[in-house]
Structure formats: structure tokens, C-alpha cells
């Protein structure tokens, strides 16, 4: 099987360059998965946040407020120095700064000066908004007590008592504890798959489609069908090996949680996407001439699709306009399937329909890529541009 062997040889020859890709992208995938999954996508998280409070009042109120915040968050002790505070903020040592001005308690109690607290928060810290609310809530409750003629100290303690109340929250099923690392891994996988598969297979297709080489193969006694079969075999072998490596990686790192039906469906979903990636590589190999162009287009497709289809930014946050465009890209349907599986508490014939629909659509994309590529290759054969 000469074509198949040649396929392997070309892949081996280029192995250094796409091994570099694999190493780097695996690192990226690992980091993505770890960081992404520890990033809860709650915008109002009640996780503890490092805060610096500059208390210029030193009153009972300011101390009580500080204690209230301190119970819920992590207090960091800092000087009231603009540079030091900016630095601390910049380097994420703190995410929120609160200034309690002098005579705040007096002003608050008398409702006179309307002296205000001041805060600065990190622009991308969503918990900052939540902290604002917590502070507002505290003071509003306190004000309510004071207006109802409670003694100051009583008002403080009642406020504290009230605000200690909270709802118990439970998750309905344990399935949710389906390790989010698995779902994040599969969310970011397409970016890596596209980049790696195209950079592994693209050069091979390009070589075979070089004018002189293609003609020589045409003129040989090898039938077109046989040639194509061998090429297909070569693709399948190489891509399965690469895809297999990723599957092994995720299985090994989540050995206890991976053997579920949901994970199996995710794996199947990624297999379909693998075929799409091969299709794209095949298509690109028909008309790209050199490795530079391949390089650029690969990254353009990988990054572009990743941003638009919901790989880097969750689909639920993308606008309708972008999503409309995204629907014409295969990765959108992959991600949608992945999200459907994340949301599913149990798998029934009824709720699997959207997933199956996604699989069908992705398959259609794959078929389309192959057909277009074959059409182009026939065009080139019968109407060659000399």
C-alpha cells in the first residue's frame, strides 16, 4: 500500500513541527480546563474575596461594618497610600477597597451630612457588585432600626443577627458533581483538535496535491479508488492516534468520574468533531500551496471559530447576531451538544433529541467538507491550471 506508507512517511517527516503544536496545545488545554472549571460562571458568587478597608472613623459603626465584611470575606491590611493600593489592586492582592471616612458614624446616625463611603473595585471582579449590595443591605437595615428608635448598640446587634440569616441551597442531584473538569475539557477540545489535526494532515494533503506529484500518481497503475482509500486510511489512523491521546489524558486524570453515559456521549460528540477536522484539513489541502499559508489559515479558523462559537466565551453570553453567524460553523453545534449534556440530570429518550440533532448537523458539515474537497480535486484534474 504505497500511498498509505507514503502518508505515514510524510507525517513522520513533519512530526517535529506538529509535535511542538501538540505539546503547546495540550498545555493550553490543561490550563484552560483547570482555570476554566475553577472559574464558576456565577456572576454573583458568594466566594470570599480579598478586601482592604481603610477605616478613618474608628467608630463602633465602622468596626461593626468591618467585622460584618470580615466574616464574609478576607480582610487585607493595607496603608492608605494611593500607590500601594493601586499596586495591590493591579496585582490582585485585593479586589475591593472600601474607605470609611472620618465622622461617618456621626453623620450616619444624624442623617445629616450625607457622608458617603467610597469604594474602588477591579473592573473585572463581578463579586465587587455583590459586595456593594452587602454593604448597602447592612446600612439600610441599620438605618431602619435607627429610624425605629432602637438604641444604637441594639440596632447594631439586631442588624448583625438579621443578616446572618440565609437560605440553605441544595443541588437536586449528585450528577451535577459530574466533575466540571470533564465538561470544560470537552468544551475547549475543539480548538486544540482543529489546530493539531490540520497541522498534522494538512501538509500531507498538500504534498499529494502538488501538481507534478498528483500527475505522477494519476498516471500510475494505482486506481483512483485505491489511492483514495489508502489516503482515507492514513487520515483515520493518524487522527485516531492523536484523538486517542487526548481521550487517554482525560480518562487518566478523571479515572473515577469518566465512566458515565454522559461522558461517553461527550466522547462520541468529540469523535464526530474529529471527522469534521479531517474534512477541513482535506479541503484546505486541495488548494493551499505552502506551509506558511496553512499555518495561518489553521490558526485563523481555530481561533475565529473558538471565539464565535462559544468555546472561549460561553454561548449563553453571546448575542443573537453572533450566534446566528455561529450556527453556520460546525463548532457551534459541538458546543451546544456539550452544553446540553452538562445541563442534563438524567438521560431519557426525550431529552436526548437535541443532542442527536446536533450530531446529525455536525455529520452534515463533515460530509459537506469532504464533498466540496472532492469536487475541487476533480476540477483540478480535468481542468488543470498549468
Amino acid at each position: 500500500m504505497p500511498v498509505f506508507k507514503c502518508f505515514g512517511k510524510i507525517v513522520k517527516k513533519n512530526k517535529v513541527s506538529f509535535m511542538i503544536y501538540i505539546v503547546i496545545f495540550v498545555a493550553v488545554l490543561i490550563i484552560f480546563t483547570k482555570v476554566g472549571s475553577s472559574n464558576t460562571d456565577t456572576l454573583f458568587s458568594d466566594a470570599a474575596v480579598p478586601i482592604a478597608i481603610i477605616d478613618q472613623d474608628g467608630s463602633a459603626l465602622s468596626e461593626a461594618l468591618t467585622a460584618y465584611i470580615g466574616e464574609r470575606h478576607q480582610l487585607i491590611d493595607l496603608e492608605n497610600d494611593s500607590e500601594a493600593l493601586q499596586d495591590a489592586l493591579f496585582f490582585r492582592e485585593i479586589e475591593y477597597i472600601l474607605w470609611i471616612p472620618d465622622r461617618f458614624e456621626k453623620a450616619f446616625v444624624s442623617e445629616g451630612d450625607n457622608l458617603k463611603l467610597e469604594n474602588t473595585k477591579l473592573p473585572d471582579s463581578t463579586s465587587g457588585i455583590y459586595i456593594d449590595q452587602q454593604i448597602d443591605r447592612y446600612l439600610a437595615t441599620l438605618r431602619a432600626y435607627l429610624n425605629s428608635e432602637f438604641e444604637f448598640s441594639d440596632a447594631l446587634s439586631s442588624t448583625e443577627k438579621d443578616l446572618a440569616l440565609s437560605t440553605t441551597v441544595e443541588l437536586s442531584t449528585g450528577e451535577q458533581a459530574e466533575v466540571s473538569t470533564i465538561s470544560f475539557f470537552f468544551q475547549y477540545l475543539p480548538y486544540v483538535l482543529i489546530a493539531v489535526i490540520i497541522s498534522a494532515l494538512g501538509p500531507v494533503f498538500m504534498e499529494f496535491n502538488k501538481k507534478e506529484l498528483a500527475r505522477r500518481t494519476e498516471a500510475s497503475s494505482l486506481s483512483l479508488k485505491s489511492k483514495n482509500m489508502q489516503m482515507a486510511l492514513g487520515c483515520i489512523v493518524v487522527s485516531l492516534i492523536l484523538w486517542g491521546l487526548f481521550m487517554i489524558a482525560i480518562t487518566v486524570s478523571n479515572i473515577n468520574d469518566i465512566f458515565t453515559l454522559t461522558s461517553a456521549l461527550r466522547i462520541f460528540n468529540s469523535l464526530i468533531f474529529l471527522i469534521i477536522s479531517i474534512g477541513i484539513a482535506f479541503l484546505l489541502g486541495q488548494f493551499l500551496k505552502n506551509s506558511e499559508s496553512l499555518n495561518f489559515i489553521t490558526n485563523c479558523i481555530a481561533l475565529g471559530m473558538s471565539f464565535v462559537c462559544g468555546i472561549f466565551i460561553p454561548q449563553e453570553l453571546l448575542g443573537s447576531g453572533i450566534l446566528f453567524i455561529a450556527k453556520f460553523l460546525p463548532a457551534y453545534w459541538y458546543i451546544r451538544n456539550n452544553n446540553i449534556l452538562t445541563g442534563m440530570t438524567s438521560i431519557t429518550v426525550a431529552n436526548i433529541q437535541p443532542y442527536l440533532q446536533g450530531i446529525l448537523i455536525q455529520s452534515a458539515f463533515a460530509v459537506a467538507f469532504f464533498i466540496v474537497a472532492l469536487v475541487i480535486s476533480r476540477q483540478k484534474k480535468f481542468h488543470p491550471v498549468v
Binding site: 513541527s17 482555570v35 429610624n147 443541588l171
Partner: protein, 378 residues
């Protein structure tokens, strides 16, 4: 000198694939960002009508008042809740079929069951927390001043403007501006291709063209320097085009300190070209391997500076801050960030100087390698 420069510049600017990478690609990606982010902001403001089930386990004051509150949250201009009053079994079924986001079980207290953690479940929790706390306050006050109860409820839940946000330093940045900074940093780093190809064309053991140039009576270092400057100029011109597109067509606001923005970009170009030159002068392997390395490494550095995952720099700051100090992409994004946020330039200058030191190191090593005039094999 001018003669060499003219042709070096022409070579750089006519290289089609490089043009694509360093010009079209950032423009395309920037356009995606712009439309993508505008819609994110729309979407996060819009949370209304969260479907929820309310199951009363024990009739009592708690349940009555809660139901009243829930009904209030239904009416109004922006109804927050869409409640259904059902029994336990029905509620569980609704949750399973994802027709509701959560179930409030009410007896003496409130218990919330949700299918998954997320924005909506957090909002539900807030609603019930707020209810419990208000209820407690109202109960306490009602004991001595029942006449003030309505006023109290209004006060607690009304707008309370006592905490004012101030800007430390200069300004608040738009969260998503960081993505654009990362994109510009990426473009600067991709100048590495320019640097690399110029080296290929000057190292006699890498191409015949280089051999011909080395046999000419022009000093090699002279050619290296001219190529280097031409690459930086080309890259800078392309970057200006991209910046112009961002500012004038997409309407991104880069803080208005144009002198410093351009300085940062220029320094970025220098770093990019010198890192490409470095790789070219040090790597002995084939062109394809080098291209793979340049692309992979640049993307990786950009990834670590926040191009794809926003808070990665925070994470790195916590675990391995040294990476943020030496990653050119991170230094560039930090420089842009400092321009917009801080009112003095110390942080900014620190970043710029670090970048220049990195470029100097790359250049020095490159020169030491390129100085070689004879090769062991060609």
C-alpha cells in the same frame, strides 16, 4: 544604506502571508470581539422572569408573606420571578424537565433546591436571603413600632446611595478592553515571522540567497541591522492600520494618550521582531519546524496574557508571578492597562523597560550567533 533599506522594506511589506497574519487576522478577530462583547453586555443585564416553583410544606406566616413577596416580584415593570404554586412531586418533575430553575420549599424557614449552580440560582438565593433578613428585621421592629413596618420595608429594599465608587488613579476600564490589548500584543508578537524570515535570508547555511548576500562586499551586520529596522517599520505600519481600524471603525476607546499607546506598540514591534530574529539565529532545524515553534509559542504566550481566557493573568499571578514579569505579551497588555487605569507612569515605565530589556537580550544573543561568517556546513 538607504538602498538596502528600501528593498528590505519592500520585501517585508510584500510578503503576502505575513500581511495576512499581522494585518487581516487581528482585524477579523477584533471585529468578532467587538460584536461578541457588545452582546454580552446586553445579555447580562437582562435577567427577568426566572421560572420557579413554590412548595408550601407548612402553612404559616412565613409562607403567606413569602408568597405575597413572590407575587410582588411578578408584577411591576421588570418582573423578576415567574412562580408556580405546586406540590412537592410536581415541583421535582418540573425541575427535572428543566421547566423551572429552582424550588422554594417553605416551612419555618426557606430551602432552595436548584438543578445547577449559576447566575439564576444565585439570584434566587439572593431573593430568599433578602426575604428572610427583611422578615427578621420587620418582626423585630414590629414589636415596638408596628406603625413603621411599611416604611421599614420600603427603606430596606429601596435604593440606598451611600456607597460611592471612586476611581483610583485615572479611570475605569471596560472589562473587555483587555481582550483588545491582548489582540494588539498578539499582533506585536507575530512580528516574529518578519524577524525570522529576514534571518533565513542572511544565514548562508539556510538559503542560497543568503550565501549570495554574504559574498557581497557589504558587512553582514550592516545587512542584519537594516533588515531589522525595516521589519520593525513594516510591522509598525501594519499595526497603525489595525489601531486605526479599532479606533475609527469599531469605536474602541484606548484612553486617548496616543503618544504612549504608540510608544507601547512600537516597543511591542521591537520585541516581536527581535524574538523572531533570536529563534532564527539559534534554531538549526527546518523552516517548517521553526514556523510551528514561532506560531505555537506566540499563541501560548498570548494565551497566558489573557487572549482566550480572561482571568488567567490573575491565576498566574497567584501561582507563578514570574511568568507575568517575563512574558512579553503579558507585559504589553499590562502596559496598556496601566495607561488607562493609573494616573502616574511608574507602573507603565516599568513594563516598557522590562520589554526593552527582553528585546535587548534577544538582540544580543542573535548578534552573537549571526556574527559567524563561516559555517561548519552549508
Amino acid at each position: 544604506m538607504l538602498h538596502s533599506f528600501k528593498y528590505a522594506f519592500l520585501c517585508s511589506i510584500r510578503n503576502k502571508s505575513q500581511l495576512f497574519w499581522t494585518l487581516l487576522f487581528p482585524i477579523i478577530l477584533g471585529t468578532f470581539f467587538h460584536f461578541g462583547f457588545n452582546s454580552i453586555i446586553e445579555n447580562t443585564e437582562n435577567f427577568s422572569q426566572i421560572p420557579v416553583a413554590i412548595v408550601t410544606l407548612t402553612e404559616g406566616e412565613t409562607s403567606e408573606t413569602f408568597i405575597e413577596v413572590a407575587e410582588q416580584l411578578v408584577s411591576g415593570e421588570t418582573p423578576l420571578l415567574n412562580p408556580q404554586f405546586v406540590d412537592s412531586q410536581q415541583a421535582e418533575k418540573l425541575l427535572e424537565n428543566e421547566e423551572i430553575d429552582g424550588i422554594f420549599y417553605i416551612d419555618d424557614s426557606i430551602r432552595l433546591v436548584v438543578a445547577e449552580e449559576g447566575l439564576r440560582s444565585s439570584i434566587l438565593k439572593q431573593i430568599s436571603d433578602s426575604y428572610l433578613q427583611t422578615f427578621s428585621t420587620v418582626a423585630a421592629i414590629a414589636q415596638t413600632r408596628p406603625d413603621l413596618v411599611t416604611q421599614v420595608i420600603e427603606d430596606i429594599n429601596g435604593e440606598f446611595q451611600i456607597n460611592r465608587e471612586v476611581i483610583l488613579g485615572k479611570g475605569e476600564t471596560d472589562t473587555f478592553l483587555n481582550y483588545f490589548y491582548a489582540l494588539i500584543a498578539m499582533q506585536c508578537l507575530f512580528a516574529c515571522y518578519q524577524g525570522f524570515y529576514r534571518v533565513v535570508n542572511i544565514q548562508a547555511n539556510m538559503s542560497s540567497l543568503a550565501a549570495r548576500r554574504c559574498v557581497s562586499p557589504v558587512k553582514k551586520m550592516h545587512m542584519v541591522l537594516v533588515d531589522f529596522i525595516a521589519s520593525i517599520c513594516t510591522q509598525f505600519v501594519l499595526l497603525l492600520i489595525v489601531l486605526a481600524y479599532f479606533v475609527f471603525i469599531l469605536g474602541i476607546n484606548f484612553s486617548g494618550q496616543w503618544g504612549f499607546v504608540l510608544l507601547t506598540s512600537f516597543v511591542g514591534c521591537i520585541v516581536g521582531v527581535s524574538y523572531g530574529t533570536f529563534i532564527g539565529s539559534v534554531l538549526k532545524s527546518s523552516k517548517r519546524t521553526a514556523e510551528g515553534l514561532l506560531t505555537g509559542l506566540s499563541l501560548f504566550l498570548c494565551f497566558l496574557s489573557g487572549l482566550m481566557l480572561q482571568n488567567i493573568k490573575n491565576v498566574i499571578e497567584n501561582y507563578a508571578p514570574i511568568i507575568n514579569r517575563i512574558n512579553p505579551a503579558a507585559l504589553l497588555t499590562d502596559a496598556f492597562y496601566s495607561l488607562t487605569v493609573y494616573d502616574n507612569y511608574s507602573r507603565y515605565m516599568h513594563n516598557i523597560i522590562s520589554l526593552l530589556i527582553i528585546a535587548a537580550i534577544f538582540c544580543t544573543v542573535s548578534i552573537l550567533n549571526l556574527r559567524r561568517k563561516r559555517y561548519a556546513s552549508i
